[in-house]
């Protein structure tokens, strides 16, 4: 789990920052406590303010993630930023995180889940084997991806990867 520490070292090279990070870790913070989430069974909207160094400069960002625990949201954030902006862990600094009430969320991808009557089908249902031991390279038959969602249509190429899953639903039906 990503340990979440609020330390600001802006304006320095990634190498130097890492060195300073570990220096401080050993000398100024001899004791690191894991802060456990107070309500891990409650879903929260986390807003994360960060600054990252890209190949050409520094950028500030505000990102929102839905998760039950802060560590989970921060982990999500790191993986998403790596995939979207190719920025790795040492070049990112989080300077603020907060739990945001639903009304104040800014991003559509979190707001679309603020629906007490949320309802959507699982369109792409690849049934996995219960254990990895049973995995084989070849199978006797093609998997039926719509069997368990009971769609009457034949297999359709669904573009999943879109944030707004409402549009996926429209593509298939």
């Amino acid at each position: 789990m990503a340990l979440h520490l609020l330390i600001k070292w802006k304006g320095e090279s990634p190498c130097f920052r890492e060195h300073r990070f570990f220096f401080h870790l050993e000398h100024l913070m001899p004791n690191i406590l894991n802060i456990f989430e107070k309500n891990p069974t409650k879903i929260k909207n986390y807003g994360i303010w960060l600054c990252y160094q890209s190949r050409t400069g520094y950028h500030n960002m505000y990102k929102e993630y839905r998760d039950t625990i802060l560590n989970g949201a921060v982990e999500q954030k790191y993986t998403k930023i790596v995939s979207r902006h190719r920025v790795r862990f040492p070049c990112i600094q989080i300077f603020k995180t907060a739990t945001i009430p639903a009304k104040l969320c800014k991003r559509d991808s979190t707001k679309q889940l603020h629906n007490s009557k949320i309802k959507f089908p699982l369109v792409f249902n690849k049934v996995r084997l219960p254990t990895r031991k049973l995995k084989t390279t070849y199978k006797a038959s093609k998997p039926n991806l719509f069997k368990f969602s009971h769609c009457n249509e034949k297999r359709v190429n669904v573009v999943y990867g879109s944030k707004i899953f409402g549009s996926e639903h429209l593509l298939v039906c």
């Binding site: 879903i43 089908p121 996995r128």
Partner: protein
């Protein structure tokens, strides 16, 4: 609508991968596009990826993120356990479990029962053939 099983609050799902394999859980809330908050009477409420869940036909009526007690009451009211065990999917799983837990003596008994059943079927078939022929 071509879809019949939806991810919604109160949808009963079967866990088909991982630590809680084979359990019936209820979707209590949706975290994001890939994960749901699930709950069952005998487990701590937690999040689970939809890839681990297989939706069933059953749905119970609960408010969003209910208390554990409310959830258990709603499950009893909807009689989820009995409905599941009487459904064809549920029955299949019970039979599979039973088969996996047989010992050699049980398998011997089953062999005898199968032979007996086949014998009775063959007798009936012979009777019908005779009637047809005459």
């Amino acid at each position: 609508m071509p879809f019949k099983r939806y991810v919604e609050i109160g949808r009963v799902a079967l866990v088909n991968y991982g630590k809680d394999y084979g359990k019936l859980v209820v979707i209590v809330d949706v975290v994001d596009q890939n994960r749901a908050l699930v709950d069952a009477p005998d487990m701590v409420r937690g999040q689970m990826n939809f890839k681990r869940l297989q939706l069933t036909d059953f749905k119970i009526y609960i408010p969003r993120v209910p208390k554990k007690k409310t959830l258990i009451e709603a499950m009893e009211k909807a009689d989820v356990k009995n409905k599941w065990e009487n459904s064809s999917w549920g029955k299949k799983l019970i039979v599979q479990k039973k088969r996996a837990s047989l010992n050699d003596f049980d398998r011997f008994k089953i062999m005898l029962a199968k032979i007996k059943k086949a014998g009775v079927v063959r007798q009936e078939l012979a009777k019908l053939k005779k009637e047809n022929a005459s």
